[in-house]
C-alpha cells in the first residue's frame, strides 16, 4: 500500500502545489514579522531515504534549530521548521533587536521567541493548507530543539518507519538576501494522509 514509487508526476505536482501554498503563506508571515522581503524556492517533493533526509540541512550531525509540530486532524503528519544556528541568531537580532551575545547557547527568552516564530509560521502554513484542501489540520503546541539534524528529523519519520525505509517529503526553502538567512519547511504527511489530500483536491485515485 505504500507505493509512493509509482506516484505519477501529476500527483507530485499536486504535492508541490501543496508545499507552495503552505510555504508561500508562511513566507509572507515571516516577511511581515521581520519587515523584510523573503524569497522562497520552488518546493521539492521527493521520496527520500531516511539516511538522506538530514543531508538537506547539512548532514546528520549538523546542529540546527528546529521547531516541531505534530499535525492532527484529517490529514495528520509532521511539520518541521528548520533554521541554521546563524540564521536563528540573525532572526533574533532583527526581531527582538537584541544582539545575541552568547554564540553557543540560547537564553530562555530567545528560545521562547524562536518557538513563537516557528508557531506563527507553521500556523500560517497549515491554515492555508487546510483552506486549500478543506481538510481539518490542527497543529499541536510547538516544541523546539537545538540539536543534530539527524536526531531531530528521525523523530518525524517514525510513522513512515513502520511502512518502509523512505518518506515523502515536501521541502521548501526560503531565503532573506542580505543577511543570508536560510530556513526550511519540511512537511512529512503520515502515509495514510496522502490519499486524503489527493481525494480532497479531486485527484483521481487509481
Amino acid at each position: 500500500m505504500n507505493d509512493f514509487h509509482k506516484l505519477h508526476d501529476f500527483k507530485l505536482d499536486v504535492l508541490k502545489e501543496v508545499g507552495n501554498i503552505g510555504a508561500g503563506n508562511a513566507a509572507t508571515a515571516l516577511s511581515r514579522l521581520l519587515d523584510k522581503p523573503i524569497d522562497m524556492t520552488v518546493p521539492r517533493v521527493s521520496l527520500i531515504q531516511f539516511d538522506e533526509i538530514a543531508e538537506r540541512v547539512g548532514g546528520s550531525e549538523q546542529v540546527v534549530v528546529a521547531v516541531f509540530l505534530r499535525v492532527e486532524g484529517e490529514a495528520p503528519g509532521n511539520l518541521f521548521f528548520i533554521i541554521e544556528q546563524k540564521s536563528a541568531k540573525a532572526m533574533l537580532n532583527t526581531l527582538l533587536s537584541i544582539q545575541v551575545e552568547n554564540e553557543e547557547g540560547y537564553t530562555e527568552m530567545e528560545y521562547s521567541a524562536l518557538s513563537e516564530i516557528g508557531n506563527i509560521l507553521a500556523g500560517s502554513y497549515l491554515s492555508s493548507l487546510a483552506d486549500f484542501t478543506k481538510l481539518s489540520m490542527m497543529p499541536t503546541v510547538p516544541s523546539i530543539a537545538v540539536d543534530m539534524a539527524g536526531a531531530i528529523l528521525s523523530f518525524g519519520l517514525l510513522q513512515h518507519g513502520q511502512m518502509g525505509d523512505s518518506a515523502l517529503l515536501i521541502d521548501t526553502a526560503f531565503l532573506e538576501g542580505g543577511e543570508a538567512m536560510e530556513g526550511h519547511f519540511f512537511l512529512i504527511p503520515d502515509p495514510e494522509s496522502f490519499g486524503k489530500i489527493f481525494q480532497a483536491l479531486g485527484v483521481p485515485n487509481e
Binding site: 499541536t140 519519520l157 513502520q162
Partner: protein
C-alpha cells in the same frame, strides 16, 4: 605513528559489523537506539541503528530487520557468530533513546525513545547478553563510535561534549 583506522558507517535503520583495526559509527541518534555488541577476544563488533521497538507494528511488505529491536539483535548476533565471534562472549553497550521533543499530551509515539531502550533490554536479556555500558534517555541527540581494538564506545552530543563507555 598513527594507525590507519578504517571507518564503517551505519545509517539509520541499518546495521553492520567491523573487525579489529576498524571503527564503527552511527550519527544523529535521537529516539533511535545505537546498540553495539562486542566480542573482546576476537575483537569483532556489530552496531545496529534501531528505530522502532518491535517488528509486530511493521506494515511494510519486506521487513527491514535492522530497524526493529526484536529483529536487529538476533541478526547482529548471527552475523557476528558467522564472522567468528562466540555468542556467549558478547557484551552490549547502547546509547540513544532520547525524547527529542516534550509535549503535554504524551502519546505512545512520543515516548518512542524509552520504548526503544526497553525493547533492546528485553531482547538482550532474551539472548543472555550483559549490558556493560549505557547512556540512554535525556532529550538530546548523540553520535556514537565503537573502536574494535579496545571495545570503547565514544559518545558525542551537542550539549554535553564527549564521553566514553
Amino acid at each position: 605513528m598513527t594507525i590507519e583506522q578504517k571507518l564503517i558507517k551505519v545509517g539509520m535503520a541499518d546495521l553492520g559489523t567491523a573487525v579489529e583495526g576498524e571503527v564503527i559509527r552511527t550519527t544523529g541518534l535521537g529516539s533511535c537506539v545505537g546498540l553495539t555488541l562486542y566480542d573482546p577476544r576476537t575483537r569483532l563488533a556489530g552496531l545496529a541503528h534501531i528505530m522502532l521497538p518491535t517488528s509486530s507494528i511493521a506494515r511494510e511488505s519486506t521487513v527491514n530487520i535492522a530497524k526493529y529491536a526484536d529483529t536487529a539483535v538476533p541478526e547482529l548476533i548471527r552475523r557476528l557468530v558467522y564472522a567468528g565471534a562466540a555468542a556467549d562472549r558478547l557484551v552490549a553497550k547502547m546509547a540513544g533513546g532520547a525524547q527529542m521533543f516534550a509535549f503535554a499530551g504524551q502519546s505512545e509515539t512520543m515516548r518512542i525513545g524509552p520504548r526503544n531502550v526497553e525493547s533492546c533490554r528485553l531482547a538482550l536479556l532474551h539472548y543472555a547478553i550483559p549490558i556493560i555500558g549505557e547512556d540512554t534517555g535525556g532529550n538530546y541527540g548523540r553520535t556514537i563510535e565503537l573502536d574494535c581494538s579496545s571495545g570503547v564506545l565514544s559518545i558525542r552530543s551537542v550539549q554535553y561534549g564527549s564521553k566514553e563507555l
